[in-house]
Symmetry: C2
Subunit: 131 residues, 2 copies
């Protein structure tokens, strides 16, 4: 069964787009935790990501079970609170996911807007040359 | 219940990250279709996105029911084949989704790598100034 020859098998498969990080709420959680290496309190994370207690708890368990975050109870002022942190392994995997996500955004921008990919940082953008 | 004042309610909620487009397979499908406005045959789309017949069919039905793609049968060489195209409404919504996804990638890059956001197209990057 012949197909057009301009197709490249799996060109848009994005296998590296790890579903653990790609889910919207978990993407929000990881972006928040990555920006605060010293940790974020449960209540703050909930507010920043606009999640309910139940929803946030469920996603945090998944992330902890996957080894990408640490959860610890602190009782610094008598009342215990939960502090969440991204793990070293979590940061490594999140960066790898982010590389794929950036490739998707470049592909989609070119596809949808006819934009040339942005140059690498520090590079110059030659723009489109006239034919 | 006081929380730290550096939190901005919903800062990382990403409500515009439309779940219709954010799912990995559908993101692949839409990126492919956006790059080929004249349409893509089912078999080619399947190969480009590395999906099975059943999986691709299921996602295409969801996208068609949401009005973001058109599906039509063509019988140009006697054997009918299905041609898929992004709709005008689909392109508009996909571009809006893409704007949010770009914001997420910028946030996450800053959060994870301490990178400054990239300048707008055509702008110059002043880099980090010494304090």
């Amino acid at each position: 069964m012949p197909t057009t020859k301009t197709t490249a098998e799996g060109r848009f498969a994005y296998g590296g787009l790890d579903r653990l990080f790609h889910e919207r709420a978990r993407l929000a959680i990881l972006t928040t935790l990555a920006s605060r290496p010293s940790g974020v309190a449960f209540a703050d994370l909930k507010a920043l990501c606009s999640l309910t207690d139940g929803n946030l708890s469920r996603h945090l368990r998944q992330l902890r079970d996957a080894g990408v975050i640490d959860m610890r109870k602190k009782a610094d002022t008598g009342r215990p609170r939960t502090l969440l942190r991204i793990s070293a392994e979590g940061r490594r995997r999140f960066l790898a996911y982010l590389d794929v996500l950036e490739a998707v955004v470049r592909d989609a921008a070119v596809a949808s807007r006819g934009e040339a990919p942005r140059p690498a940082r520090g590079g110059s953008d030659p723009g489109f040359l006239p034919a």
